[in-house]
């Protein structure tokens, strides 16, 4: 019996609360009764909760309740590049510690690489109780096959309750495969995590539709519960030099380390030193910047603030900035502490890529530009005057 949703017509009063509650536009009224369009319905259950008359029922096949008691501990997959542990890993260790505390289990760091023993102290100081190390030349740089196989083997042997991973290029590629192979639930790009202590469930909250709606997701009957987590949302774990973690080293046979793909080269485009996803401050330019020359002043302001440089789709499509700097729907989603939008009108496709920033500053000559509707501070004016003036003021403030 597959899952299904039913409306009890005798209970339906035609109040339309469910129509308003449905995030997928799947309910309409016909003859003053609610009708669900199954083509659009995702069985999310939002209408069931909204209905005051118990007129909607969601039937789920609960299946045999599985014994999940063998799974324990919170794991953090610690991403390293060129032997450097990425800052997202420290953010996850900080958050993981809280979750492990609520569950009364250990926080474990998992690190794959080559020559990783030098990282033990760093991970201990950041709060890991146990560090799983798999050290092999084949794991020096990220490769889908061996990383997937090793993480699958580790998870099958040690049975973690939760695995957290950064929502990075590597993280999203890796754990999507791992989750399929071990039949785990995986939630992408979470911005909030908590524990339902009674049910021992990870509550995973994430934006969808470019942040227009938020969803809380659980994995009731499968373990581990896996989540990728967005940059800069969780606080980094504090450093405590006195901490010592237990270290578990694992080796696997050569066939586990085999990669069908081959990494031939790693190219760093170091035009700008600060990467968008990790930046605390982003200075972004759009069509109003007028050309590649205009981006010189954007970069100047970014340098003064130690910020990353972003660009709207219009600026990227005109070849003023490389695609790697594009913020928005077909580019990157960012949430820095401060986002300064210069000469960006604020099309919806751009807004969904940056509207969760803490503080947004908009500078635009058009007082009706949509960007002002979401900006914390707005200035109507000429960016060619304002941006250099701001750069000078910030340089003075920061003694540069």
């Amino acid at each position: 019996m597959p899952a299904s949703i039913i409306i009890f017509l005798e209970k339906c009063t035609g109040c339309t609360l469910c129509v308003k509650a449905c995030p997928f536009g799947a309910i309409h009224m016909a003859n003053k009764k609610a009708v669900i369009d199954m083509g659009k319905c995702t069985l999310c259950g939002a209408c069931v909760e909204a209905c005051k008359f118990k007129a909607i029922e969601l039937k789920k096949d609960a299946g045999a309740k599985r014994d999940l008691s063998g799974y324990k501990d919170v794991w953090v997959f610690c991403e390293q590049k060129k032997g450097v542990i990425q800052s997202i890993s420290f953010e996850l260790l900080g958050e993981g510690k809280k979750l492990a505390g609520k569950l009364g289990v250990k926080l474990c760091a998992v690190i794959l690489g080559s020559g990783m023993d030098s990282k033990i102290a760093e991970l201990s100081e950041r709060g890991a109780d146990i560090i799983y190390i798999v050290d092999h030349p084949a794991l020096k740089s990220y490769q889908d096959d061996p990383y997937t196989e090793v993480l699958v083997k580790l998870a099958e042997e040690y049975k973690p309750e939760i695995i957290l991973c950064g929502a990075t290029t590597i993280g999203r590629s890796l754990v999507s495969r791992v989750a399929v192979k071990i039949g785990a639930g995986l939630t992408a790009d979470c911005t909030g995590l908590d524990i339902d202590e009674k049910e021992r469930l990870l509550l995973q909250t994430r934006p969808a539709f470019g942040g227009n709606i938020m969803a809380t997701i659980i994995t009731p009957n499968h373990r581990p519960q896996m989540a990728t987590v967005r940059h800069k949302v969780m606080k980094e774990a504090e450093i405590d030099k006195s901490r010592k973690a237990e270290v578990i080293r694992k080796n696997y046979p050569e066939d586990v380390m085999k990669s069908r793909t081959r990494l031939l080269d790693v190219i760093e485009e170091i035009e700008e030193t600060v990467n968008l996803a990790e930046a605390d401050i982003i200075v972004s330019g759009g069509r109003g910047v007028g050309g590649p020359e205009g981006f010189a002043m954007i970069k100047e302001l970014a340098r003064a603030l130690n910020a990353a440089v972003g660009a709207s789709r219009a600026a990227v499509d005109s070849d003023w900035m490389p695609y790697s700097h594009q913020v928005g729907q077909t580019g990157k989603t960012v949430c820095p502490k401060l986002y300064i939008a210069c000469g960006i009108s604020g099309q919806i496709q751009h807004l969904i890529g940056m509207q969760s920033s803490d503080v947004i500053v908009a500078i635009n000559k058009d007082p009706d530009a949509p960007i002002f509707k979401i900006a914390t501070y707005g200035i109507v004016g000429d960016i060619f005057e304002l941006v250099p003036a701001l750069t000078k003021e910030f340089q003075r403030l920061l003694n540069k």
């Binding site: 899952a3 083509g39 192979k181 969808a208 227009n212 709606i213 809380t216 919806i348 509707k373 501070y377």
Partner: protein, 261 residues
């Protein structure tokens, strides 16, 4: 060369509006379109075909109306279209979706390359592409921004990273997920539009693809949505007024704490 491209029909985000009273998404009159990243996947699949000859099969899982997206893909140069549609798929998370698509791909038979968009604009997960490659146990390269070389047996591609890009070599068959930088999609040709109009996409049900019923839809999905809410819409704040020097000083004063930190 046989290329399979997986696409998704999504609501057009330009139409997404929030009801100011109920604070919920207004879905009425929202047009459905091909997921923006999938347009690049379709174009890249067609370009590979044009280099080698062969065919492009476009595949989607969705409600009957997703046929519109398939027809559009046909007008853009895809040769065959398959709609996998069944009520049993309702409530699929990324695990069940990638399982269903991989079962359909197994039924399609031999292929050389699968191309997917990086992620869909409604869910933004980027999990289905890698999920398909895991179910099929084939190599993958995600975030591909350029196919440098491709032969009948192998490909060399550039994978976008946070810092720049990696150059990766992979044997075929394999799966790529692609980003916007990879190409500029063409417009539909008149011939393509004519063909798309008369084409009859294949329609497969859960039974047709020989899928395990327990692995489909909500029942086959490890994750469950327990709550959906709309965050308070962001409100416009303060407009700063005055001459350039004054507003600059005022703004720097307001942002002082963030800037110093």
């Amino acid at each position: 060369m046989h290329i399979i491209v997986c696409i998704k029909q999504v609501p057009n985000t330009t139409d997404v509006r929030i009801d100011p009273v109920t604070n919920t998404l207004i879905r009425e009159g929202v047009e459905s379109v091909i997921n923006p990243f999938d347009a690049y996947a379709i174009e890249e699949a067609v370009r590979i075909k044009e280099r080698f000859s062969g065919k492009v099969t476009v595949l989607t899982m969705g409600p009957p109306q997703a046929e519109t997206a398939l027809r559009e893909a046909l007008s853009l140069g895809c040769d065959e279209a398959i709609l996998v549609s069944d009520r049993k798929f309702a409530g699929s998370d990324t695990w069940a979706t990638s399982y269903t698509l991989s079962a359909a791909i197994k039924k399609i038979g031999a292929f050389d390359v699968i191309v997917c968009g990086k992620q869909a604009s409604d869910g933004d997960t980027a999990q289905v592409g890698p999920g398909i490659s895991a179910h099929l146990d084939i190599p993958q390269v995600t975030y591909v921004k350029k196919i440098v070389e491709i032969s009948a047996t192998a490909a060399k591609v550039e994978r976008m990273t946070e810092e720049g890009y990696d150059i990766v070599e992979t044997p075929l068959p394999c799966l790529f997920t692609v980003v916007k930088e990879i190409n500029t999609p063409r417009l539909p040709s008149l011939k393509g539009m004519m063909r798309a109009k008369s084409a009859k996409p294949l329609k497969w049900t859960a039974e047709d693809i020989g899928a395990e019923p327990g692995s489909l839809g909500l029942d086959g999905s490890p994750t469950r949505v327990v709550k959906i809410f709309t965050p308070a819409p962001r409100k416009g704040g303060e407009m700063l007024e005055g001459d350039t020097t004054d507003v600059s000083k005022e703004l720097v004063e307001l942002l002082k704490d963030i800037a110093i930190h």
